[in-house]
Amino acid sequence: MTTDTIKKQRRGLHLGNRFRALPKSARIAALIAFVVLLYVLPVKGFYENLGLPIPAGDGYLPLYTTRSDMANVLFQCGYYILLALGLNVVLGYAGLLDLGFFGFFAVGAYTVALLTSPDSKLITEYNWLESPWPWLVTVPIAVALAMLSGVLLGWPTLRLRGDYLAIVTLGFAEIIRIVAKNQDWILNGDRGIPSVAHPPGTWSDGSPIFGIIDWSPYYWLVLTVIILVIFLIRNLANSRVGRAWVAIREDEDAAELMGVSTFKFKLWAFAIGAAIGGLSGSLWAGQANFVNSATFSLENSILVLAAVVLGGAGSIGGAILGGFLVIYVPEWLRSVGDVFGWPDSVEVFGVHIDVSPTSLRFVIFGALLIVVMIYRPQGLWPNRRRAAELKDRQKEVAPVE
């Protein structure tokens, strides 16, 4: 057998290539079926059928989450996927390291909270607003403010090469959190802002679509937003802007020598990413009802970063997969743990240690990241250019010639 046919066979085994080899009509049909599946996923009568019988014994291994409401978990996955998609533009497309991406999420969430809550100090103390605004009106404002903060952060730092951006973004997210926590004049510290508005709409019986008990509508909303954002990002990535981003991330000097205005395009990537982060925050706030500083810890920024790197920086599919995994897997492991009798906490020398998978999230993904970075540094669902880029970077570090 020639190496060529071996290569062909190996390519044939690859799932993505097999999918691309299908006729276009079949691909579209498969995609539509998948999207429909995503929409029915939080329906109880549907997801409860998703599971595997355990061969030995009569156990049943659920693929859904048994400890938390499925729609709840899916909504969380949704806004993390949105965050990962936003960071993917910054890190994956333009190659800019943003360690405080959750800061933009915070800007979005606080904007919605301040403008829609009747208890907002903008209303009760400062009389900036007469009455709370509806949620829907505040979303574009939240997105615009997140974008603006991205521009303000990027303007001075993106001209510089090196790790300034990582440090500045890290500082930005932490400053928001610390200011929110420790001052009282507007964000209200740990006491937070209650009674944040939900998205609009009522069912035919007059009850609100976006209520407190059923999270499915929130999931459907975020899913719809994700689909729209994917279209937007795909179009950008395939445009001149997208090619400039690839050039910048692969070799910034060379990009400049080809006439790419590197500063401008880096700023665009940064602002677009920030806007998507803010959008995610405003969706989250629309569900959460209550926003305080505790939500915006540094760990969340790290988790989003892990999602993008794990999934595969520079790839939309990778960002989605990563965002899904970092939320879903720990939750799902709790269901699995129940099947096998895994405890939530253990006592060692009289000390209770929390060992539930959601608490061990960072241990799980820390370990997973290390394994993936060793065996598949381009990520689980990589961008097609990534492997070649990484190999090139290795050569730079340790030249082989």
Partner: protein, 236 residues
């Protein structure tokens, strides 16, 4: 005079890399810049292309001082550099790399023509059209870097050590193509450690030592200059 550099200095932090350099390139010429490792050859290229700002002096292109113009805008004026160490985009295919070279242009028909021209100059690149830039051999990457710079249709082509790390056969080939590009109407400023080849191909040349120009003349003059011979041609 297409390019005229007048008394420029350039600093990397506190280190001064160029001490008052003056040189010029006439339209239609190949001008070579030779000198030892660390003499400041690449630094001069960076100053011309705009990757580094000069501390003093003027860089005139077509009579206009461009020393304060941003690098990406200098490309639009007709200066394009093939960077040292090739600098091809590793994840882009050969074709995408070449398209990137034409990034500032919108005339897609002429771009397609120029791509054919590059493939005519470098048939190897045509064979590897769909291959990622980073997986090419050193010589192929060098060809790609030169071809990519040509795609911008520069008036002035800056080549920083196009022969670096290549086998003698391929070096010969690259220099032949540089001569050909020049005969097709592109002015070339060429940085080289391979002084023998550079001087025999260049109309004029400058010798650079630790940030100063110490000698200039026609290629032939310098090729037969005893001091140059001893220092750069390995002939006693």
């Amino acid at each position: 005079m297409l390019l005229e550099i007048e008394d420029i200095t350039l600093h990397y932090g506190r280190i001064q890399a160029l001490h008052g350099i003056s040189l010029h390139v006439n339209e239609g010429e190949i001008v070579a810049l030779i000198g030892a490792n660390g003499a400041g050859k690449s630094t001069i290229m960076r100053a011309i292309s705009g990757l580094r700002a000069v501390s003093r002096g003027a860089i005139r292109f077509n009579g206009e001082d461009i020393s304060k113009v941003r690098a990406d805008l200098r490309v639009a004026r007709g200066i394009c550099q093939a960077p040292e160490g090739r600098g091809v985009f590793p994840g882009m295919t050969v074709q995408e790399n070449l398209e990137m070279g034409a990034y500032i242009r919108r005339d897609s028909a002429a771009i397609a023509q120029d791509m054919e021209r590059v493939f005519g100059l470098f048939p190897r690149l045509l064979e590897r059209r769909k291959q990622a830039g980073g997986t090419l051999s050193g010589g192929e990457q060098q060809m790609l870097a030169v071809g990519r710079a040509l795609m911008a249709r520069p008036k002035l082509l800056l080549l920083d050590e196009p022969s670096m790390g290549l086998a003698p056969m391929i070096i010969q080939q690259i220099f032949t193509i540089i001569t050909e590009i020049n005969q097709q109407g592109t002015t070339v400023l060429l940085v080289e450690q391979n002084a023998q080849q550079a001087l025999s191909r260049a109309h004029r040349a400058y010798v650079l030592e630790t940030g100063n120009i110490v000698k200039e003349g026609t290629g032939a003059e310098l090729l037969h200059d005893p001091a140059v011979k001893a220092a750069y041609l390995g002939v006693a």
